[in-house]
Amino acid sequence: MDSLTLDGNAIAGLLQEVFVLEMTSAIGTCASCGASEPIGAVRVFRGAGVVLRCPHCGDVLAKIVKREEQACVDLSGFRTLEGASRAGLAVRDDR
């Protein structure tokens, strides 16, 4: 296994910037092999752009190319992608 490999946690900021939602806890199903994983657990590669790959079969789940003001996103490697959350934060401040 490639020691360079990162997981979806590494692109939490990028995903939130692009989707305006917390995505690492969203669950994606691979269109190739049907496995389901949270985005935080998928493999992430940085090439010219960002590539998300299924940790079970290795196929591409998504590609993201980010420019200044827009992003080009291909999610076709996901059969489904659900559970992205809007209210992602619980705050306790009782001091």
Binding site: L4, T5, F45, G47, A48, V51, V65, R67
Partner: protein, 201 residues
């Protein structure tokens, strides 16, 4: 750009001749490793290189046959779309002109395809006339897997995503066929001197 991090310079060479650096690029003395997928590890006895598609005869070379082809050492500057440039990189490999010598084709486009599934497209005229190589040595040593070994493309006049790592062949095509990144926002041609990074540039 408003905020500057006090005292931060990064690890760049600032003494490079500015005329060698395309717009928006920064020179590095590292060799960053970028990849669309895990490093393949194909044993040499299972490696071959093909020229196929719109041609009268498909050509295939085993590793031994490929290494027996005339090769040359070239020193070129390379420019990655992620903004780093590396000057005076030294490679050894086989010119694409050698691979296509005597090939009869009406193709105008070439698709590079690779172990791991990556593809990228270039016009045929951009890989002929001494502009491109299939290289297997970097800096005098066998090309390391993380940098594309056993062999990768070298097309230095375009952004480096057009120089596919782990290349296994060239497919000649009459029609253009946008590759892995070209279908997802990166420029179909990719001239760093015109800063053609993205669609519409």
């Amino acid at each position: 750009m408003s905020f500057v991090s006090r005292g931060f310079h990064g690890r760049r060479r600032s003494d490079a001749d500015a005329s060698r650096i395309p717009p928006g690029q920064y020179v590095t003395s590292d060799f960053p490793v970028l990849s669309a997928g895990p490093t393949p590890h194909r044993p040499l006895e299972q490696w071959d290189f093909s020229v196929s598609g719109e041609t009268d005869e498909e050509r295939v070379w085993t590793w031994e046959a490929f290494r027996a082809l005339p090769s040359e050492e070239v020193t070129v500057d390379i420019h990655c779309v992620t903004k780093w440039s590396k000057l005076d990189t030294v490679w050894r490999g086989v010119s694409v002109d050698t691979l296509l010598e005597g090939v009869d084709t009406s193709a105008e486009h070439v698709i590079q395809y690779c172990d791991g599934g990556y593809t990228t497209n270039v016009p045929l005229e951009d890989v002929t006339g001494g502009k491109a190589w299939v290289v297997y040595e970097y800096d005098g040593e066998p090309l390391e897997p993380e940098h594309g070994g056993p062999a990768r493309m070298l097309v230095p006049h375009l952004y480096f995503w057009k120089s596919a790592k782990w290349v296994r062949g060239l497919r000649l095509r009459v029609e253009d066929e946008p590759g892995f990144w070209e279908v997802n926002g990166y420029n179909n041609y990719g001239d760093p001197w015109k800063e053609q990074r993205y669609w519409g540039d």
